[in-house]
Amino acid sequence: MAEASLNPVEQFELRDYFSFPHISGYNIAFTNASLWMALAVLGVFLFIGLGARRPALVPGRFQTMVEMLYQFVSDMVESSAGAEGKKYFPIIFSLFIFVLFCNLFGLIPYSFSVTSQIIVTFAFAAFVFIGVTFIGFYKHGLHFFHYFLPKGLPGGLIGLVLALFMIIIELFSYMARPVSLSIRLAANMTAGHILLQIMASFVAVGIIGLFPFAFLLIFIGFELFVACLQAYIFALLCSLYLNDALNMH
């Protein structure tokens, strides 16, 4: 048998393909993560480009797929962020489709799962968090701080103590947003891929490997569903945070 690595965590190692000269001690290289991110962008470009070629009023099959995806995200943004949030539809759609393609490409055997790296998902989540906070301050000015103090508290001394606790709790739950957004995506992908590696190691050669292989196929199907669901949840939560910044003040 070939020397197959049964270590389930080894698939997440970054490998340098092409090294640039070190700039002030930092190792800037073209890694397998960069390769698969570039492939995801190429995939998105081809998918939407081929769908938007020769647009017909009665769409063909490929155009219908792209239009369905567009309408799905458009409906989600409109129902979560309101009419004012429609302005921010391009960034939400870009995030959604990039995360979706990165998740899906990570399921190709022998590929690298980009969204399983916490630094990648944290970059997305930090960008959205800072952007949404900036939008909130830009729209409401210093009145944005009223978000942390909900209305309907009783007056007097007990109201003051309650207000203090509410502000601290609301502040912490606001700060937890980029953390939860990034860890949700990264941990889902990491756990899924580790489980896939372990189940793939159960498959033996020959007729005896039929049942583990069938189970592996079903599990890959489940991972496909989780990939799409996690991309949708990421985009939905981003538009919900945008709604919090734009309205509810």
Partner: protein, 80 residues
């Protein structure tokens, strides 16, 4: 036992114990889908909206279980 082996023992026992965190997530997801089924049974016309909410709630509840997985990875691979 020497210190290295003791540390490894502690690591493996700790990593195994963190899997107990998944039971909370499992119960939570069960509750979410029980409520979703209840809602669809009472009001079948709202099935689309209820399903959308159920999947969103499932992802948020699953995240809590995955936090215990993150602690497992921390204990196994980050702690020296």
């Amino acid at each position: 036992m020497d210190a290295e082996a003791l540390k490894l023992l502690g690591k493996y026992i700790g990593a195994g114990l963190t899997t107990a965190g998944m039971c909370g997530a499992a119960i939570g997801i069960g509750l979410i889908f029980a409520a979703a089924l209840n809602g669809i049974a009472r009001n079948p016309a709202q099935e689309g909206k209820i399903k959308a909410f159920a999947f969103m709630g499932m992802a948020l509840a699953e995240f809590m279980g995955l936090l215990s997985f993150v602690v497992t990875i921390l204990v196994l691979y980050v702690v020296k």
